[in-house]
Amino acid sequence: MIIWLLLLLAGSPPSKTYTVEIRGMEFHPAVLTAAVGDTIVWINRDIVPHTATADGRTKWDTGQLTQGQEGRYVARHGGVARYVCTLHPTMHGKLVIR
């Protein structure tokens, strides 16, 4: 039993949750480093709606987030994932997944 517990603890680290605030028509932070299995939560603090939408091969999308709403994505693959707000294409963000 003890050996089993030790093996379990020695396995992959617990996943974390990171928050990206959308305020002033920007993603804060604009670049976020996380690990596979971590959860990224976007929360919209602006008056106008936003999305966080993958701009690459991997497809994910929070959908439209109105003021105060949250959207989340669990990182499944390593690499760099660029994303945009589809409503405001001048807004960009980047996830670096280790």
């Binding site: 002033g24 028509m25 920007e26 602006d46 008056i47 106008v48 709606p49 109105t66 003021q67 409503l87 405001h88 294409p89 001048t90 807004m91």
Partner: protein, 177 residues
């Protein structure tokens, strides 16, 4: 034309050695709601006249965003017990919008897209100028001023989006109307 109208209002105030026309808070609220409503109406016109997906998407964003701002403005006005009051700046904006609509309505396709995006660039620049030089400086209520400050980045983003989209549409440049 709209930009010129707002700038004329600002310029005449400067000539009178005043930093900006002295609008009351109910008048500021009216200008804000009018400015949003004008762009919503213009976007609805664009959705019936454009055949380009990017222009249609831009127009949809204008409707979504300016509707959200007007909802906040209405909620704040109710909370503060303020009834928006018509004034000369709102009337300038409305007159400019009527003239812009008259010139846009007969156009279709690429000609409409270029004229509409020219107008959106000029309009958002004029609204930004009005926020900075007229509306924020003259607003007394802190919550109404905060709403204007919070809205400003959205207007600046719309302006950049409009400029990018306009640059993708190519010549001819605006005629100066």
């Amino acid at each position: 034309m709209l930009a010129i109208a707002v700038l004329l209002a600002l310029t005449s105030a400067q000539q009178a050695q005043s930093p900006a026309p002295d609008l009351s808070d109910p008048e500021v609220a009216h200008v804000a709601v009018t400015a949003n409503s004008i762009d919503i109406d213009m976007a609805k016109l664009a959705q019936t006249h454009t055949t380009k997906a990017a222009v249609r998407q831009f127009a949809a964003t204008m409707i979504t965003d300016h509707t959200a701002v007007n909802s906040q403005a209405a909620a704040l006005a109710t909370k503060l017990g303020v009834t928006p009051k018509d004034n000369a700046v709102s009337q300038f904006l409305q007159t400019g919008a009527t003239q812009a609509r008259t010139s846009l309505e007969p156009l279709h396709g690429a000609a409409f897209d270029r004229a509409y995006m020219d107008r959106e660039v000029a309009y958002h620049q004029a609204v930004l100028d009005a926020i900075d030089k007229l509306l924020i400086p003259t607003t007394e209520n802190a919550e109404l001023r905060k709403l204007l400050v919070d809205v400003r980045p959205a207007i600046a983003t719309h302006l950049e989006h409009a400029k990018q989209l306009r640059s993708q549409l190519g010549a001819p440049a605006r005629t100066g109307k």
